[in-house]
Amino acid sequence: MLRAALRAAGKGLGYIDMQHIHIKLFAEDAPAIALTDAIAVFHRWIQTSAVPGLLIDVADYSHVVHGPGVVLIGHEAYYSLDVGKNRLGLLYQRKAKATGGSAANLHEALKTARTAAALLEHEPEFSGRLRFRQDQLGVVLNDRLLYPNTAETFQAVEPILRDVLAGHTLLQSGDPRERFEVLATRA
């Protein structure tokens, strides 16, 4: 059935379990912080296993404009202080397959991202200067084959998004070359 659907000229498989979910929690305003301060924080997180999963290393891309910033590389997931699309935020990226269904996976990703964001806010390097917005977040499904950035995919996953992100308005990004991405803003 999946293969038959695939043969339908690139139509995605939006009805199978949502995996590889990214959550970006945007920073408030324009905090006076240095991206590179996250390097020491993430190394500490590895030492203390501060966030779930196997944590491997820290990748520093602070030199790249509008880039991934500083990334805590993990086996199951990455955590980064990200400046993609020129918006600073905590980005949680699920890499490994998750075991729950779509709603459970989205719930888990949201919970883990929020936990990490809260931790980051309280790190001494950022304390008092870095706050993450509670009213807006980005959701990316990082798999173009199964979740192309189309209206069909949006239709397929909208019920789950609306269920988990109740009270939010959902805005899908427009560029079909990009991954499926929704900006969720609390109404």
Partner: protein, 746 residues
């Protein structure tokens, strides 16, 4: 692993050339077989390397977190993808880009892959490849299929194969070239890819094409095989160089032939591949590159063998049937820049990053990438630019940048504005701030010091200081390698650095050897020499001091190299002597961690290399140098210089003994007698040097060589001495390995 992995094959059916599709299917099957234990891990390692799937730092399952070395507990620790390389550990995927040529669709696919399988970054290498890091081995067939669907293969991107064929990014638009070498580089890459005669090398084989003698765009003379365009009597051909290479011991390529007509290009490469496969070293990786074979045989004999081989080759129609490569043409009419843009930074950017093509009204724009990195969004943005302003004429460069060719000059303000929006409008391309660096300790298993951390720091500081605006130092090149294997090409920089470590008071500290006097121009015309190691954290001060002295003391018209030659290496060393000192850990703890990495510095994270070398540490480096000396003794003997051969062999032994003493922190006097005495006391009398089977025999070789060092030797005696030297060095390696596994006490 990606959820969609099972579906890409079907999704891209019919879009991938049949041969390539079959190869990827086979590789996917090999992954399955390895998962089921049906393929030996060593065989699988070479298989994946030939597909460009490399290991990466920490894939041995352990990492020092700054406090302790921790086990990285992946889900399937019993599974490996090579010796001491865990299956689930992320790896690096190298993607071959012949001559650096890319189109817009390929940029978009690279963007997709960077986002979906990597960490969002595509990295341009010093050989015009693209690398993605943190890729899972089970995702690689999908990556390869998506690339293959847009005409890119990862085949033979690593391993003992013909690597990416590099070429001038300005080919076809250059003002100085004899002719456009691009089609020849393309045909050469296509011809040798998967060719039966290139499948049995003992080591990698690198080829480069240059359109001219002087410019440094292709660095022909650091390659195993290099072609420089020539026109003779109206006929196209190449000056051919062989046996160049950097690595631990750099060799400059030798002139093989002043003129080889273009129709002989491919058969000559094929014949050379056959000779390399047949006679090249296979067992000892340290002497397996073509450069060692050329030196060992002598250029004349090597040439004779190649030409003899050429004469026996059965005719191949591909030699003279060029592969199809669309000729580049502009998208927009030639226009001149009538009004300079008032945008901030435009003038500096235009001065540094814009090259006037030989075609009037057209320019080539260099997009300067910090450390060779760019994001998926930037890749897509460049694809848009390439479609809007040029006919998708994009190339990567060996300076880890990207160029857009055939830009109509009048479009420059619009292009600058578009690049600014992408965060890609940095000036300084081809200047002192445009620093080249290998991955180093960020991701490479062999990295000793943080080359990227240092490069980032230097780039920022030099930009802040306006170094690129100072005409005296503006065009100096800085190149950084994380270890002695030269992936950052430090030998050919004006200011080169390569990572080493030093110990003080029981603490290890990251350092860089300072390499001066290399020549970037003339296709990498000469190699620099190390003048001393400086702590990583003092390299910015080192750069500042050396360039400052040059600015102050240079004579009129004197180049940096000429200045270094004039003042001499001793003065250079003196110049940085105080900077080489490192404070004790108690008062200078920051010196004992690396740039952009606050962890306590350690060599414990290094692993075994899959490409460029073997296990690395200071003693490894020293013992490698001993091997080189022993090899040079062989060469001297071949030239019938018996006295020199015996001297080199003896010195190799002496240096091996000294390396062990240094490693065990056993001080010794600065004379051969003192070294022998200390070695005898601590390694022979204690029997720690003894081989489990041969006992103290190898140490006796050394003692005997020392006793007879002043005697004149005959050829046979010298020959024996060299053999004994090699055995002694091997015994040094063995002793080091044995003692490494024990508490640090002799």
């Amino acid at each position: 692993m990606k959820q969609s992995n099972p579906y890409w094959k079907e999704r891209l059916a019919g879009q991938i050339p049949a041969g390539l599709a079959s190869e990827i299917d086979i590789f996917e099957n090999e992954i399955t077989l390895r998962l089921n234990g049906k393929i030996d891990e060593k065989v699988f390692a070479e298989t994946r390397l030939r597909r460009g799937a490399y290991g990466q730092r920490y894939d041995n399952g352990q990492r020092h977190d700054g406090i302790t070395t921790r086990k990285l507990s992946y889900g399937r620790p019993e599974l490996t993808k090579g010796p001491n390389t865990l299956w689930d550990a992320p790896g690096m995927q190298r993607i071959k880009i012949p001559f650096g040529g890319l189109n817009a669709e390929q940029l978009e696919v690279l963007a997709e892959l960077a986002e979906e399988y990597s960490d969002g970054i595509a990295h341009i290498t010093t050989r015009q490849d693209v690398q993605l890091h943190f890729v899972h081995i089970e995702d690689t067939p999908s990556v390869m299929r998506r690339l293959a669907a847009v005409g890119i293969t990862t085949r033979e991107a690593c391993g003992n194969t013909v690597r990416n064929v590099t070429s001038c990014p300005l080919g076809g638009v250059c003002r100085d070239e004899a002719f456009d070498v691009t089609p020849y580089a393309h045909d050469c890459a296509a011809f040798l890819l998967g060719h039966p005669d290139t499948q049995d090398f003992g080591r990698k084989f690198k080829i480069a094409f240059s359109g001219c003698e002087t410019n440094p765009c292709a660095l022909v003379r650091i390659h195993d095989l290099g072609y420089v365009a020539q026109v003779r009597d109206g006929r196209r051909g190449f000056k051919v160089y062989v046996g160049g290479g950097l690595g631990t011991v750099p060799y400059q390529a030798k002139l093989f032939d002043r003129f080889v007509p273009v129709e002989e290009l491919l058969p000559l490469a094929q014949a050379m591949a056959r000779v390399f496969a047949r006679l090249g070293e296979k067992k000892n990786r340290n002497t397996a590159r073509l450069k060692f074979l050329v030196v060992k045989l002598g250029l004349d004999e090597f040439k004779r063998l190649v030409l003899e081989e050429r004469a026996t080759l059965p005719h191949d129609p591909r030699w003279t049937t060029p592969a199809i490569l669309a000729e580049e043409a502009p998208l927009r009419p030639a226009t001149l820049l009538q009004i300079e843009s008032a945008a901030p930074g435009f003038a500096a950017w235009k001065a540094d990053n814009v090259y006037q093509q030989r075609q009037a009204g057209y320019v080539t724009v260099t997009v300067a990438l910090p450390l060779g990195d760019l994001t998926a969004d930037q890749l897509r943005g460049l694809a848009d630019l390439a479609r809007t302003y040029v006919k998708e004429t994009i190339r990567t460069t060996v300076e880890q940048n990207i160029v857009l060719r055939w830009v109509s000059e009048g479009d420059l303000p619009a292009i600058y504005a578009a690049l600014s929006a992408l965060g890609l409008n940095a000036a300084g391309a081809g200047t002192i701030v445009d620093i080249t660096a290998c991955p180093g300790t960020d991701t490479c298993k062999l990295g000793i010091s943080s080359s990227r951390g240092l490069a980032g720091e230097l780039r920022e500081r030099l930009a802040e200081n306006g170094a690129a605006a100072d005409e005296a130092i503006r065009h100096l090149r800085i190149k950084i390698s994380g270890c002695f294997n030269s992936c950052g090409q430090h030998h050919i920089a004006d200011l080169g650095f390569y990572g080493v470590s030093r110990n003080k008071g029981g603490f290890a500290a990251p350092h860089f050897q300072v390499v001066l006097g290399g020549q970037w121009t003339e296709n990498a015309g000469s190699y620099g020499l190390a003048i001393g190691a400086v702590p990583s954290k003092r390299i910015p001060a080192t750069v500042s001091r050396i360039t400052g002295r040059y600015v102050q003391e240079r004579q009129e018209g004197e180049s940096f190299q000429a200045y270094i030659r004039r003042i001499g290496k001793a003065e250079c060393k003196l110049m940085i002597q105080d900077l080489a000192e490192i404070p004790p850990h108690a008062t200078g703890a920051s010196y004992y961690s690396d740039w952009h990495d606050p962890r306590v510095y350690t060599l414990g994270d290094m692993g075994v290399g899959e490409c460029a070398g073997e296990v690395v540490s200071a003693i490894d480096f020293q013992l490698t140098a001993c091997e080189r000396e022993a090899f040079e003794a062989q060469l001297a003997l071949e030239k019938k210089d018996v006295a020199q051969a015996a001297k080199l062999a003896y010195e190799a032994m002496l240096h091996g003994a000294a390396a062990l003493l240094t490693w065990r922190k056993l001080g010794y006097g600065n004379t051969p007698d003192a070294i022998v005495e200390r070695f005898r006391e601590h390694f022979f009398d204690t029997q720690v040097f003894f081989d489990p089977f041969a006992g103290g025999k190898f140490a006796q070789y050394f003692f005997r060589a020392h006793e007879r060092r002043a005697e004149a030797r005959g050829e046979e005696s010298a020959h024996r001495l060299i053999e004994e030297t090699q055995l002694f060095i091997e015994a040094c390696h063995s002793c080091y390995a044995r003692l490494s596994a024990q508490p640090a006490k002799v």
